[in-house]
Amino acid sequence: MTMCTKIRPQLTSYLDGELADDHGSVVRGHLRECADCRQCARDEAALRDGLRTLAPLDPPAALWAGVQSQLAAAEITDARKPRWRRQAARWVRWARSARWAPTMPQLASASLVAATAIAVFTWRGHHGEDATVGHVAVAQPLPPPVPAGIAVTAAPAPQPTPPSADDVTADLIAEPARTTASYARAIEELMKLAEEDRARWSDGDKAAFDARLTGLRDAIASAGAPRAVQRAQRTLIRYLQSAVVRDDVLLASGGAR
């Protein structure tokens, strides 16, 4: 039994021809005299052969259309990104494709330079605003100094400053909404095309299309998170593309082939 427990973990390598000669001969010798391990080896060989002869799986015909549609959507999203993000993405790609591996001191220096640059730009932005405010404030009479020990009770609450044009936070927050809106526009356009083709469809095709459309629209409506909504939108886009581009057989089968 001890021998069996030693041999069995080696069966995978033995059957794959990966054991060195001396180890292989030990396993072979044991298999000659142990029926249980021999059966185990046969099972494993049958499994390995079964796995190797599994039939290749053909992707659905709509896969390529889906890839193209996603590539187009990604390009639209790219085009709408602010310039600094496109530039940053280019830098990241360059850094990844660079043949050199940056060392820690290089990374530290680069971080320091970047931090200094950000600090300078931020300071200049604030300084500019302060200078303007200060300029206006010069014309206003200064409030009387408050004597020490007297609390100021009616001090006005600080108002939140509106985001400046350089503030990218709002832009980042709006990005998923923009993508969703872009998909919605694509759906609208595809719907128009589908409506134009509809006249040529049989009643059965129309019913199948309407039923599928309702299902897909319900899926969009019930999806909560932006990613889920976008995924459901992409499914609808793919279906509409199939409906517009593909033949009636595909349409009648509900988009699945």
């Binding site: 390598s13 099972d43 499994l47 799986l57 053909d58 896969l63 996603q70 990604a74």
Partner: protein, 162 residues
Amino acid sequence: MEMLYHQYKRRVFGMAHRIVGGSDAEEVAQEVFVRVFRGLASFRGDSALSTWIYRLTVNAALSHLARRGRRHEVGDEGLTELPAPATAERDSALAARIETAMTQLPAGYRAILVLHDVEGLSHEECAAILECRIGTCKSQLHKARARMRELLGPNLGQRSES
């Protein structure tokens, strides 16, 4: 671009299908091809193009499963769901049993089985794709096959002796 797609579509779709299952395979395969085409310019050539594409496929499939929180860990109840041993047309029946049993495996085991045994890649290639050591790859394969044998039951190799 289209040529590249046609060259790899079966393998990418097949791998995705066998790792994430039929319902999500198309979505994963799409994601892989979009990443491939968008990342082709930055492909460094450190590994073979095929290795890079398979790595993207396995990573996309495993991430997809993680996102969905789907687990195919096998409990004992999974064993009873497997179809009965073949009565006719042994090969196709065995293939069907194997496909079913694979869905019961943990995702990592499925990935190594698909890469090594289904796609016929070497341990070196599998290790490069899964970004692990060759030894780890071999031991994972051994565990995956052992789990498959458990799931498929005894006498898979037909000629039983006692």
